[in-house]
Symmetry: none
DNA sequence: CATGAATGAGCCTTCATTCAT
DNA sequence: TATGAATGAAGGCTCATTCAT
């Protein structure tokens, strides 16, 4: 026997991540209050007591879940913000495609639903979500729009409002998928929605004499 | 001071409405699971036991809250559906104004947040909300858009998707107000958002050679 | 209008009796704790509040039920006690017939079950039941048996024990009917049981040379 | 004093039995509905929540109590059923002694009282009690009596009724002890009752020409 | 580190009792 | 008298959290 080289070692380093992943699933399904630590522990494959080796309380775990979900998206937002200049419509199409991709492959929709649902009970979670993600994304888009307006590419109008107009169908799509599709509503194709929206909005936003 | 003030009053007719109103407030703030019947009863000015004279269980009360919130909006949706024909852009401006008004003066936003947050735990609530309200509204708008397309007023494109594009900023505004404004985000003026959106979208939707 | 001669007057005098009858039924079915005043009131055809016009508390009502059930049987016991002298076996046959009749036509079995079940929670009810009914009956029988022994009709032996031996099948029959027959046990014919028991016991009790 | 006394101990194996024992005591005293889980937990030396680690509901615990009380008696009944043949009166004396012993040393009387009192609320408990215990015991005795009749040892008569006659004083004794002795009634000596009953009944049952 | 038995505060729900009508 | 809406004190049960192992 070689005690120094056990064949199967418990991957301690991966535990927190597994727990957060399990917690995300349960919180997204049930909401914070209705989520049971029993179920989270079971899905993570650990004992209930083990949760407390990594997280102080249920609320702490919830914050970790939201925080974890923010990090990987920060980069995306930053990339969007730093998008190379060029014709506004190219930028917009690129950003829209990127957003649609993120919504499609990550669980950001579930997390958004959690944040919306628990905002009153966890104001600081809503605040972090807003300050770290939403505000940055909005500022980046507003800035790009304002710049395009300065270049004469985009018609007059509140750039922040333009940004909201552009983002809103994405939110609706997420909520539709999470809320109504499970009870029988007809799903939407996210790409169709996004591309039709971008084209429509572009036609409405671009100043006369600027391309398509 | 009225020394003859009764310990309790008999108001069978008014009580259910008062309780539902109180419950709406608490459910909207806390979510279903975190809402305490103690608090609902206190806000309604009754004892906890009195709730059970009118509602069988907490779930029953929750369903009543959602159901109650649907009824008054059904009429609005129907009116929208029956909106007089005429140039599409007139119709759209009218509908948008009406929706903005409803969102502004009713608690429909709070209820929407509840429905979104509890959809997994109360599928039938989500189903009713969808079937009675959302689906009707969507069908009415899609129909109007398709008719306008048939008349050559609106460019080609999936009418249902157009309808979603039009509605989505309203949803975003509601969620913004309920979720982010309480934690310090800058509020939007709903009317500005709606009117800018309508004008932008109209320019993008209307076929060449049609007005504005 | 003749206010002094209403056509249908509420029979106030009969109310308490109706309530006690309803209460007996519910207490016998459910036991004291599981019995609901709502149900008693409903069966009595009165409002819940009306119960409190006649009985102070639920316990008070329970005591009334048991007390009420004792009274009519007191006379029977007394009659038994005063049974004309004569050959012991005639007396015994008469008493047994009488007891079987009482068990068959009254609800004394249900009340006995209540008293047995609630004796620990209502000691004074058990005490009254014992002192007013059981002890008297037992004393009467023991006395008759002792007298018969003095006359040489009955073999030696503890008269009180003889009395218990004689009564016990009646108790068993009552419990059998109330407890096991409702769940599918085969019922007994009370008269068969009693007459076979009396004959068997008589053969065993009577002194040689006295018998049938 | 042990300063290191643990706040609670882990005794998974022993706990269910301790809880059932405590529950038996409380159910027997108060009846099902009036029994408080608080009290059961306190008597078992555990917290109220711990009850739910072993039993799903209060009803489940009640069923466990009754079920637990049946098992050890099944063997006794079977032994009685298989009692060696031989003169009927020897068999009967043996069985009576055995039954008196069981009644004296176990809590079967308390359980019987519970079953009788809660039969309407828990029909399946009454059914199990009857099917597993009472029916078997009755069948065994009836069979033995019928066999003795076939051998000419016992007089004609319904064997099942004979069996009831024989058992009934035992039931009366149990109820007397549980119900009336606590409120001041004079207790019986179980052995005196049983032996006098057996001798009396035997004289009445045995065919002429069979001994004593 | 990890487990899971045990805790105990707190919630939903019931129901005997009260009281304005 | 009679009603029944309303009360409020528990009780059954849950579940986040702790701790002996």
């Amino acid at each position: 026997m070689d005690p120094g080289a056990p064949k199967f070692r418990r991957r301690k380093a991966e535990r927190p991540g597994e727990i957060v992943a399990a917690a995300l699933a349960v919180f997204a399904e049930k909401g914070f209050a209705a989520a049971r630590l029993d179920e989270i522990a079971a899905r993570a494959g650990v004992s209930k007591g083990a949760l407390y080796l990594y997280f102080e309380t249920k609320e702490d775990l919830f914050r970790a879940v939201v925080g974890q979900a923010i990090a990987p998206n920060i980069a995306a937002v930053r990339a969007m913000a730093e998008a190379h200049p060029g014709p506004f419509e190219d930028l917009l199409r690129g950003v829209a495609t990127q957003l649609a991709h993120i919504v499609g492959v990550t669980r950001i929709g579930s997390v958004a639903k959690m944040v919306i649902g628990e905002a009153r009970n966890f104001p600081e979670v809503a605040r972090v979500w807003h300050d770290e993600l939403v505000a940055h994304a909005l500022a980046a888009m507003s800035g790009a729009i304002a710049a395009a307006q300065a270049r004469g590419e985009v018609k007059p109008g509140d750039p922040r409002v333009y940004a909201l107009q552009l983002i809103s169908p994405m939110l609706l799509a997420v909520i539709w998928r999470e809320t109504f599709v499970p009870v029988g509503a007809e799903p939407f194709d996210l790409n169709t929605l996004v591309s039709q929206h971008v084209e429509t909005i572009l036609r409405g936003m671009l100043a006369e004499g600027a391309s398509t």
